[in-house]
Symmetry: C2
Subunit: 387 residues, 2 copies
């Protein structure tokens, strides 16, 4: 096990109708609120009205930034930063899925920084201060509700990059499983893939003697696999939605990576794909991850054997490690296909035109990953195998 | 799954030689430090010198409270409170195991309260403010390093009671597995039982549809069971000590009980036993828990079947649920015995003299537990079965 630090000050408020606590949760931070949301589905579902009721109850002055894109854009983040500065915003309330939350974190950090918020993503500056933010989550997927990370896209340069700081952990996150009842099927699928991929990035590691972290990761995977299918069968199954929501939070709230060298190469590759093609993050991960697995599994086959047996219940009797490992990877692909996720870049309309550029961008700071260190050529091979 | 809130702001600093960061971790909180520790073993191991070196480096003024008992006493806590008030203490540093940490939390809360700190344990007052505290943990057991709870004993009235508040979460906890190398065998054993018991209290629940929480709990149990035996075989096995230390933290840092109705009856009973007889908490739990299990398992036998199969790998083929459940309980007792924990009250010198009083005290606020609600008679039955 490696040395590590763990710190996560987000207050999670989980359960049906917990939006009713929103007013009291915000009140300590101020009354000048920036409300950030996406395409307006929260107006259809009535959540917008519930939120506004809470904000009126504490006499808040509310400014709105709506229309956050699925891959939130730098230009949108900058609009939010402008509102914060002009209107003296004291607190940012993000209502939506991971994109809305990520945009809000970038706005929170950018609002108190004199330079361009993009600086944080290219390591030109470190976040020194940020406005406080809170969230009402409407989609189980990114884990952004309980961590200090965000991903935004610079559409002009076609770059998708991350920023992170303990200063942008949400002060609170409200997780009501009922708010995810209306998530469309494709977004539920993308969320399932996203959560599983987060676990993969922390589970496939060369770090040894981490039995607890391995089992915790397997616990999250098994929960997502089982409850993902249940939620797709019946979108209003409270327990399935609740289990999925909670698993998504545990997948990326710092519970799993303690003492572990994590990978994140596949996320890096996917970011380059979706920066150019604007496909859903989950769709990109579904296409890429099994191909990454096949490319790297021999680096430590025992890990993939364990994965096959514990997560997919592959019967190892009479099989070679190679066969067991490949059966686990095939089970991963089969699950993704069964729930309706794409398996090839071709299925989402991507050909080989920009693969070299993606591989180059993904490795611009050097080789990526840790389970296997991937060079530009390695990344290109994985992308080609995904066509 | 139930609704819940989760908030844990403790910063965990985990790894070999992390005491070297102590100075910088304390510095933001002030220079007037109360150093709290136990019987002086930290002087033998050199940890005391390392801590003092760190404190000198930040020009701290250090007052000491040593001699914290294994079941920390109200009178000792009051001595600490007096020092805090007299010397204008700004930060409390607890160096030791759970008892030292618990005493420090009580001191932190009591120092800023005008009444008797015991008020917090008998629900006469709620903690409104507390001095900040940090910890250097030397024993894997209580989980006190990453939660807001403490247990203290009033030796005059022979009462052992808990207090809790988010205000007494340690600001940081340093966990160096090497600091646990010198833990004596019996204390390692007690720690193992304590950690497993914490999980039991959260795992044996009537709450349904909690697949993630169940698996997380099983993950911690399996890790403790495997690594407990390894640490007993070789006390300087870094990975075994590290896994045990981390498992102990996860067992009681709020990871497991989210959305779950927890039990805690057996802890309540044990507190009455050790309040009168001053036995080690872990020893008391080892005696009581399998007897509690046998008394309650029929309330939801499926839970005990799952426990037997997943945790103790009981082969269910051709067996009744009753047989499987009882085999799991027997495996628990066998493990405790194998590592050297006591199985009966008689073994630790306790006869039936005070059992009625224990049962009465344990249920003084009404029936206890949730898996099965235990009346005074039920508690007495469990105590008698433990003789």
């Amino acid at each position: 096990m490696n040395a590590f630090e763990w710190y996560n000050p987000t207050k999670l408020v989980f359960g049906a109708d917990k939006v009713g606590q929103l007013g009291e949760l915000i009140e300590p931070y101020g009354k000048r609120i920036l409300l950030v949301y996406g395409g307006g589905s929260i107006k259809k579902t009535g959540l917008y009205d519930d939120v506004m009721f809470q904000l009126r109850n504490i006499d808040a002055t509310v400014h709105e930034l709506s229309g956050i894109e699925p891959n939130p854009r730098l230009s949108t983040v900058n609009r939010g930063i402008d509102i914060c500065r002009t209107e003296g915003i004291e607190f940012i309330l993000a209502v939506g899925g991971g994109s809305v939350l990520d945009a809000s974190k970038a706005i929170a950090a950018g609002a108190l920084y004199k330079g361009n918020v993009w600086d944080f993503t290219i390591r030109k500056a470190i976040i020194q201060d940020a406005l406080p933010l809170g969230t009402v989550l409407t989609l189980a997927a990114t884990g952004s509700e309980m961590n200090g990370n965000a991903v935004i896209t610079n559409w002009e340069t076609k770059q998708k990059r991350g920023l992170g700081s303990k200063l942008v952990y949400p002060r609170f996150s409200i997780l009501d499983p009922k708010l995810t009842y209306t998530v469309p099927r494709d977004q539920t699928v993308n969320g399932i893939v996203d959560m599983m991929s987060h676990v993969f990035e922390q589970y496939f590691t060369l770090t040894t003697d981490i039995p607890l972290q391995e089992r915790l990761a397997e616990s999250v995977l098994l929960t997502v696999i089982e409850n993902g299918e249940k939620a797709l069968e019946d979108g209003t199954d409270y327990d399935a939605r609740a289990n999925l929501l909670l698993a998504g939070t545990y997948a990326l709230n710092g519970t799993l990576p303690n003492g572990v060298t994590t990978d994140w190469a596949t996320h890096g590759i996917e970011h380059e794909v979706s920066a150019i093609y604007d496909i859903a993050h989950g769709a990109g991960l579904a296409i890429l991850f099994p191909n990454w697995m096949k490319y790297v599994y021999k680096e430590r086959i025992s890990k993939f054997v364990q994965y096959a047996v514990r997560v997919w219940h592959v019967d190892p009797t009479g099989k070679s490690d190679d066969e067991i490992a490949l059966e686990g990877i095939a089970a991963t692909r089969a699950y993704f296909t069964r729930i309706g996720a794409p398996a090839t870049l071709g299925e989402v309309g991507i050909n080989d035109e920009h693969l070299e550029r993606m591989a180059e961008e993904a490795t611009q700071f050097g080789p990526i990953g840790s389970f296997m260190l991937l060079s530009q050529d390695d990344v290109l091979n994985i992308l080609k195998a995904s066509l």
